[in-house]
């Protein structure tokens, strides 16, 4: 089967890119003809590894040495065309996070590409691209819209466009139960399929759960709630002076979090670790994973942590954590944004190495369902079912 994934920037380093690469690789390994199409290209090589059987190409190459024909003659008509191409996109809502990365010229290249497609499957991976596919990939290609966050996080203009256009999709793929319900309501009559993202590997070094290290990871942004996690941890330091909290990630709230650490005199126990090239190694050294987010899609780093047999303490965000873990089994779920509750749940695990190991084992058992092969089989079943319902 011919399967194409359309990404905004396949050469960047977001979670969507990584999980799409994992999906694409697993499908290519099963013998499918898989292509990843990047709307933009700003780097020579993709940041994440991509299976060599997957073809990768870009529609708009924005690398500096690939500027379009710098020596070409620039008459008035050409300048007018350039100005038009540089205007904001026409069909992508302003509230879409990728709006600023697009121009009308790039949007036109995407539309032209979509118009050429005649067969196979097209999977688009964010609202801007989904909306363009719904409107312009109209000639025989099976269209699947992927939602990597959830419907509730989108701006009103994006939700309005989704309500208007997503009914055209052959299927909408979502990551969480709650989001499935939301999409069934906003696109009535369209097939909405729950398919979580796969972890990149299940062959990971397990944690012994004996160390005194709690780990968290994510962008240093309000969404991740590290400003709630640090005060929660500060309630435990007198009781557990040997424990450390290591927070991996970068972001524009680093200085504010550092101030919070200083105010609580946590500089001996809480560390902003920055970006790690070896997060797998770091997870294996830890003894529990903490997710303090205010909102999540499907929290992949949490699931990756579970592949290291780490127990989880997590806020029960509206979507995400409860799709993966059951309170008391692989870890502990705490009411959203409840700092005292988060501290109490961490205390329970910090005080009990046996419980950590037991919940860590349960976590490892649960994530077997998120292997690249298991998730690939769910995608294959969806594509085959869509293809047969079209021909039949």
């Amino acid at each position: 089967m011919k399967i194409r994934y359309l990404l905004l920037h396949a050469y960047g380093m977001g979670g969507t890119i990584r999980t799409v690469f994992t999906q694409a690789g697993a499908l290519a390994a099963a013998g499918h003809d898989v292509r990843v199409v990047s709307v933009l290209r700003r780097a020579d090589r993709p940041y994440f590894p991509l299976d060599s059987r997957v073809r990768l190409f870009a529609l708009a190459d924005l690398r500096h040495d690939h500027d379009a024909e710098p020596d070409a003659p620039r008459g008035p008509l050409r300048r007018l065309a350039d100005r038009r191409a540089a205007r904001p996109p026409r069909f992508v809502p302003h509230g879409e996070g990728g709006y600023a990365a697009l121009t009308r010229g790039i949007e036109r290249q995407v539309i032209d590409y979509l118009g050429e497609l005649r067969d196979g499957v097209l999977v688009t991976t964010r609202p801007s691209l989904n909306l363009l596919a719904a409107r312009f990939a109209t000639r025989g290609v099976l269209r699947v819209a992927q939602e990597h966050m959830n419907l509730a996080v989108h701006q009103p203009d994006v939700r309005a466009a989704i309500a208007r256009w997503y009914g055209r999709f052959d299927a909408i793929a979502v990551l969480t139960q709650r989001d499935r319900g939301d999409y069934l309501r906003i696109a009535p009559g369209t097939r909405v399929e729950l398919i979580p993202n796969a972890v990149h590997s299940l062959k990971q070094k397990p944690s012994t759960c004996a160390s005194r290290i709690a780990v968290a990871a994510g962008r240093l942004r309000p969404q991740k709630g590290f400003d709630l996690l640090i005060p929660a941890f500060s309630r435990l330091v007198d009781e557990f002076p040997d424990w450390q909290l290591r927070i991996y990630g970068t972001g524009d709230r680093g200085n504010q979090l550092r101030k919070l650490i200083d105010e609580h005199h946590l500089y001996n126990q809480v560390f902003l670790m920055g970006r790690s090239d070896q997060l797998d190694e770091e997870l294996a050294k830890a003894s529990m994973y903490v997710l303090s987010s205010r909102a999540e899609g499907l929290p992949m780093v949490m699931i990756e942590a579970m592949t290291h047999a780490l127990p989880v303490v997590s806020f029960d965000c509206p979507t995400g954590p409860s799709d993966v873990i059951t309170d008391g089994k692989e870890g502990l779920l705490v009411p959203p944004e409840d700092v005292d509750g988060l501290a109490a749940a961490m205390r329970t695990l910090m005080a009990d190495e046996g419980l950590r190991a037991q919940m860590g084992d349960a976590a490892l058992a649960t994530v077997q369902a998120y292997s690249p092969e298991a998730i690939r089989d769910r995608w294959t079943a969806l594509f085959e079912s869509l293809a047969s319902s079209r021909t039949g």
Binding site: H265, Y267, N268, L272, G274
Partner: protein, 147 residues
């Protein structure tokens, strides 16, 4: 002198810098335990005597502190003033054991294990005294103009 002084805790608060840890790879003479000192030497200040503070050992463990105001040089200086920290037995002729944190798994401590500065006013001037790990994971203290 063999070994180093491994830090477990650094407390820059309440006008003092308190350092807690254990000697590593160095067996101190039990009879000298009470005479050990924290030795703080200004980098590049040739001939200037190092500052010394009592740092009695409990076995191999140390727990010593100093007032950070002492680290603001009395003379005019080109900021930052940098101080290196050592732990020395009584009557030592050399520098002593360097104070640092070498035994854990955290790399890049200079940017990861970061401590807040404390303000010291000297006349019209406000200075910030801040301990930090060097690129070799040893502890030093910088003094630079603050707000």
């Amino acid at each position: 002198m063999r070994g180093h002084a491994e830090l477990a805790r650094v407390w820059p608060r309440d006008g003092r810098l308190r350092l807690v840890g254990r000697l590593h790879d160095h067996a101190p003479e039990p009879a000298t335990a009470d005479g050990w000192t924290l030795r703080v030497a200004r980098r590049g200040a040739v001939g200037e005597p190092a500052l010394r503070y009592p740092a009695p050992l409990d076995g191999a463990a140390f727990d010593s502190s100093l007032p950070v105001a002492d680290l603001v040089p009395a003379d005019t200086f080109e900021p930052p003033a940098l101080w290196d920290v050592w732990l020395a037995p009584p009557g030592a002729t050399g520098a002593g054991l360097r104070v640092g944190r070498l035994l854990d798994d955290i790399r890049n401590k200079k940017t990861v294990m970061v401590f807040p500065g404390q303000r010291v006013t000297r006349g019209e001037l406000t200075l910030l005294v801040r301990p930090y790990y060097t690129i070799k994971d040893n502890l030093s203290v910088e003094v630079r103009p603050g707000r």
